[in-house]
Symmetry: C5
Subunit: 88 residues, 5 copies
């Protein structure tokens, strides 16, 4: 499971039915590489989170019909990447 930081929500009106009404977050890794994840936890910009990929991402949404390949599965209580402190 990867360790990533929440950047912002993702605004996206045109999406497939399988992602209808699901909260999407833009995340970045330590190199600034961006990804999009579904969020069943309720995290905020600046939070450090870890994510599950593959079919676990769909089970983690509590609904296998959600067609995500990356889901936030936990907010890290305390994380310091040397630049930013993340507090839950």
């Amino acid at each position: 499971m990867d360790i990533l930081q929440v950047v912002s929500p993702l605004v996206c009106t045109s999406r497939i039915p399988g992602l209808d009404r699901v909260g999407l977050r833009v995340l970045k890794d330590r190199n600034g590489q961006l990804q999009v994840a579904t969020d069943p936890v309720g995290c905020h910009p600046g939070n450090w989170v870890f994510t599950a990929s593959g079919s676990a991402a769909r089970w983690a949404m509590g609904n296998y019909a959600v067609l995500s390949d990356l889901t936030i599965v936990g907010i890290i209580d305390q994380w310091d990447d040397g630049q930013t402190d993340a507090k839950e």
Copy 2:
């Protein structure tokens, strides 16, 4: 889910039955790396999109018999990679 930009349709007459009659798009990431994805959304060159990989790519086509491993699942309303603005 990765964030990629649509480059062009892919012209490919010789393909397996499982990809028959499916729209294919060439996408690139910020480093110029190219990939091919199936498109159930209907996007255009220049659009910034995000994609689902793995088995989610097949479910996202609305037909598990479509043998894709990468499917466009949404068009991002507004995206600026510093070089190009993507409008839905």
Copy 3:
């Protein structure tokens, strides 16, 4: 799905039963990185192809018992990587 170029067939007499009698191809990406794929399409050295990975690779062989994780799913009609022209 990745875009790769066919280098050669792979000669391999010692293999698991699940890959018995399957055509194998060595492919390379633009950085020269090599991979092995199963080929249900019938492609030739120099062809540019695109590939499906994961469980889609097995379904793409038309036989889920073929234990591939990478299968050629189409030959690109025209591709120019700046070095080589690929013609179907």
Copy 4:
């Protein structure tokens, strides 16, 4: 399966139900890249371990309902990366 070294437990009070009561470890590879894995083996900081990813990670927990995509599946008896000796 990747070879990684255990850094520390991960403290994370806010997590999805599918990871409830599961031991989480922060691991690093030889480049210092960090990941989070579930631990059914019981390893300690400094141990060199190897991990299974994908759906194997869930089966490896002995409970498919654990929504991990990376699980520690063994502790390496002796490993020397040139910097650190790992002893079981």
Copy 5:
């Protein structure tokens, strides 16, 4: 499927039940990056092999209960990476 060279067996007394009694090999790629794979073929240090990942790795063991995510599926008859010749 990746092309890798066998380095050595992996000594690992503490492992999950799903990898009990399975032969493990340390493999390296051309950049020296190491991985661990299960071996149903019977290969030797110095052999060049190719591997299946994901769920194919479990099927390739002939036993889906073996919790590998990387399995050696064939020994390449002849391979020259510019440094080492591999003979079956």
